[in-house]
């Protein structure tokens, strides 16, 4: 790695004692000796193991659940179903006033995605829990399912989630989050060329080497200690408190040493049910996702569809950009309404465009609920935007890097969401890339600056 101190030297004070120094990591000695304690290294005497009974169907009504055979299985201590969960219908962003509650801890009357948790089996060993889970008999009436976002948005599509009442998240702005800046129609009318393209991604797994999980121990005083690899301690504690209808003072969360997260451990899925199980059995409980659960059950990065329509002039200026983004939330909200909204704030990318129209939708389908991942709401949008930029440059016969210089935002430029640009550095990154990659651009671009004269 090369630290290029010559850029922005005028606005930076160097020569600090500790900041900027390559100090060794205080946690690494624990890592290389195998002494670092992750949550699963808390191996407690008498610990029970929790395994989930999961839906084999994408969308089905549950007629009945029979746990009697499972309960008789040797080693089984308890089987939990929806009726055991004090506040079974929840949504995690309720903590920042983003509702409605739309998801069940354990399915109640219906499953909306293949893999949804239906019943929790607690047993002396993982093997007994797994075997008993196979003995829980669930009578399903299979319902039509919808997997495609466009299909889901059509009238008459199967309704994925009754708590929403339609297959999209309803923002205060309506069926999508909107950004309106300038006059896109006028921009398109004035443009020399118009290019409309559609981009698509598929769900992506975080794949941390340590799977999601927790170990819960009753403290004996009506309090419960939850050793967890959550990415957000109080967010998880407070949501568990709501779901369990248990005062937060009864909950003690210990974590902070996590085997990779990448956004995959902020969903509050394992902790509430494991705490409930510890409470109802009086025993320590371990609930750790298998690798298969991590791959197909834990929330992935959402699939997204992005439609970009641009108006561009022969001289390289983009004069209008319209973006319609669709985020496939799967069956439940989790963090997706937030992510789709973050996309609206991110478009039209780091470029100054006078006429912008953004609509971002959060769409429900009968698939594994998606949620946060590294670059949430932005990563796929950047893929779409930057491929589109390449296409636009080629359309007008311009070098793709020079084309970006022409449109790059600089200090003081008004963004589509009506904030003036501050602290821009896109131009300098591109100048340095031009040098490093031996991709020459015209001198006038190398002479540009993110600073504005007089700014």
């Amino acid at each position: 790695m090369e630290l290029r101190k010559d850029y922005f030297a005028d606005v930076r004070k160097d020569g600090l004692h500790e900041i900027g120094q390559p100090r060794p990591r205080l946690d690494s000695p624990g890592h290389v000796t195998g002494k670092t304690a992750y949550f699963a290294d808390r191996i407690l005497p008498g610990m029970l193991h929790l395994k989930m009974v999961r839906s084999p169907h994408h969308h089905a009504r549950i007629r009945s659940i029979d746990t009697s055979e499972a309960e008789k299985h040797p080693g089984v201590v308890k089987v939990l179903t929806a009726k055991d969960v004090p506040h079974n219908v929840y949504t995690i962003l309720i903590l920042i006033q983003i509702g409605p509650e739309d998801e069940t801890v354990l399915a109640d009357g219906k499953v909306r995605w293949k893999g949804e948790a239906v019943a929790a089996v607690l047993a002396e060993t993982e093997r007994a829990a797994q075997e008993a889970a196979a003995k829980v008999k669930v009578d399903y009436e299979v319902l039509p399912a919808v997997f495609d976002m466009e299909e889901a948005l059509k009238p008459g599509a199967p309704l994925v989630n009754e708590y929403h009442g339609q297959n999209y998240y309803l923002y205060d702005s309506g069926e999508c989050r909107k950004v309106r800046f300038g006059d896109v129609d006028a921009g398109f009318a004035e443009a020399d060329h118009i290019l409309e393209q559609t981009y698509q991604s598929s769900p992506i797994e975080h794949a941390p080497t340590e799977t999601t999980g927790c170990v819960v121990a009753p403290e004996g005083n009506d309090r419960f200690t939850c050793y967890t690899n959550t990415q957000a301690m109080f967010f998880t504690l407070d949501n568990a408190s709501i779901i369990l209808q248990m005062p937060g003072s009864k909950l003690h969360f210990v974590g902070g040493t996590v085997g990779g997260g990448f956004g995959g451990k902020v969903d509050v899925i394992v902790e509430p049910i494991a705490i409930l199980a510890a409470k109802l059995t009086g025993r320590p409980v371990s609930f750790i996702y298998s690798r298969e659960e991590e791959m197909q059950i834990s929330s992935p990065r959402a699939a997204e569809k992005v439609v970009i329509k641009d108006g561009v002039m022969k001289d390289g200026r983009i004069v209008a950009r319209k973006v319609t983004g669709y985020t496939d939330a799967g069956a439940y909200s989790r963090h997706s309404p937030y992510g789709a909204q973050k996309g609206a704030a991110h478009y039209p990318g780091p470029y100054t465009i006078p006429n912008v129209w953004i609509d971002t939708y959060c769409v429900y389908t009968n698939r594994t609920p998606s949620s946060a991942m590294r670059g949430f709401g932005v990563t796929i949008g950047d893929f779409a935007l930057e491929v589109q930029m390449d296409k636009l440059a080629r359309l007008i016969g311009m070098d793709p890097l020079e084309f970006r210089f022409i449109n790059a935002y600089r200090d003081g430029d008004m963004k589509a969401h009506r904030q003036p640009t501050e602290g821009a550095a896109l131009i300098e990154c591109m100048q340095e890339a031009s040098r490093a990659a031996n991709w020459p651009v015209a001198d006038k671009y190398m002479a540009m600056s993110s600073y504005r004269k007089g700014a």
Partner: protein, 334 residues
């Protein structure tokens, strides 16, 4: 049939912290009797190195070496609230909270030192090595070790501080979307060079040259870790990863590391990392959040390089050999 070479560029920016703000983090700092400093948080280290960075931030602010700072984090019985580790917010939000708490503790420390040295606290400075000196008269000094002992056993002062950082929440205007998503943005530009085998559709990323602007590299080696790993993930996203290879069809989803593909140690691109620092106005020592954006520019850069190599656009991720071959076939069919 041939191996064809191409290159592509992409440039991006990325917001620091939770979109629209409203995501607080608190920190507490106190001195032990011998002048070591405990930082108490509930922030989570996912491997990015939050604990180490908070120690360096506290050390710089107090004026002691980093190894005199202890991080106690993520026990909800002791640590004050942190919204969590996500949205590139950890360094920025928790770092600011630690600075505020450490400044308050430092002020008490300087007041106690001032009493011991019989000078004004405002005339004192720290040397970064664990000593407090009189400005302009460095021979007149006292160690932080002795100041902490005095505070505890003689003067009855708690060398401690509280920190809280919150960017007030912004609410988007319904019709126009006017809003304040973030207070600072990191930037990047990547040039990727690829080879595409037009017979098999296989893509080899030969090199990625990444330029990242991250405000301030608080610990350059740790920044490098994050950026190298992120660049790898970006390439992985571009070419390999999905849990639903035939989305929206739900079949064929991988369930383990044999089916869910990522580049292994034998599939690495030559990776160059260049870092620029334009300090942000409200970042801890100017730092922005580099953890997420570092995995973004490689994806479109690789996509654009594939087009440059073989003249077909793959607008659906991941850019698999199958998709490339189908596109080449369609192109050949005219």
């Amino acid at each position: 049939m041939a191996i064809r070479r191409g290159r592509g560029v992409a440039a991006i920016n990325y917001p620091t912290g939770m979109n629209l703000g409203g995501d607080p983090t608190q920190a507490l700092v106190h001195s032990t009797p011998t002048g070591n400093f405990m930082v108490t948080l509930s922030s989570v280290d996912l491997g990015q190195g939050m604990k180490q960075i908070m120690a360096q931030i506290c050390a710089e602010t107090i004026g002691v070496p980093t190894d005199r700072v202890i991080i106690d984090t993520a026990d909800t019985d002791t640590g004050p609230h942190c919204m969590g580790t996500f949205a590139s917010r950890g360094t920025h939000r928790a770092g600011n909270a630690v600075i505020q708490a450490a400044k308050e503790a430092r002020q008490v420390m300087l007041e106690v030192a001032a009493e011991e040295l019989e000078v004004n606290a405002s005339d004192l400075e720290t040397d970064g090595q664990g000593n407090i000196l009189v400005k302009g008269a460095p021979q007149k000094s006292i160690s932080i070790f002795d100041v902490a002992l005095s505070a505890h056993f003689k003067r009855g002062r708690s060398i401690s501080g509280r920190g809280m950082f919150l960017i007030p929440r912004s609410y988007p205007e319904k019709e126009t979307g006017a809003m304040k998503p973030s207070t600072c943005y990191a930037h990047a530009c990547t040039v990727a060079e690829v080879e595409v085998d037009d017979e098999t559709g296989e893509v080899t990323v030969l090199s990625v040259k990444n330029v990242f602007e991250i405000g301030r590299a608080l610990n350059p080696k740790m920044v490098e870790q994050q950026l190298v790993g992120g660049s790898w993930m970006g390439i992985s996203h571009a070419l390999y990863e999905t849990t639903e290879p035939y989305y929206p069809n739900r079949d064929h989803g991988g369930t383990d590391f044999n089916q869910y593909l990522m580049p292994g140690p034998g599939d690495l691109a030559e990776t160059e990392i260049i870092v620029l620092e334009r300090p942000s106005a409200d970042g801890p020592f100017g730092a922005k959040g580099p953890g997420e954006m570092c995995a973004n520019p490689q994806i479109p850069a690789v996509a654009n390089a594939v087009f440059d190599a073989v003249g077909v656009r793959i607008d659906t991720l991941p850019i698999t050999p199958e998709r490339i071959l189908r596109a080449l076939k369609a192109q050949a069919a005219g």
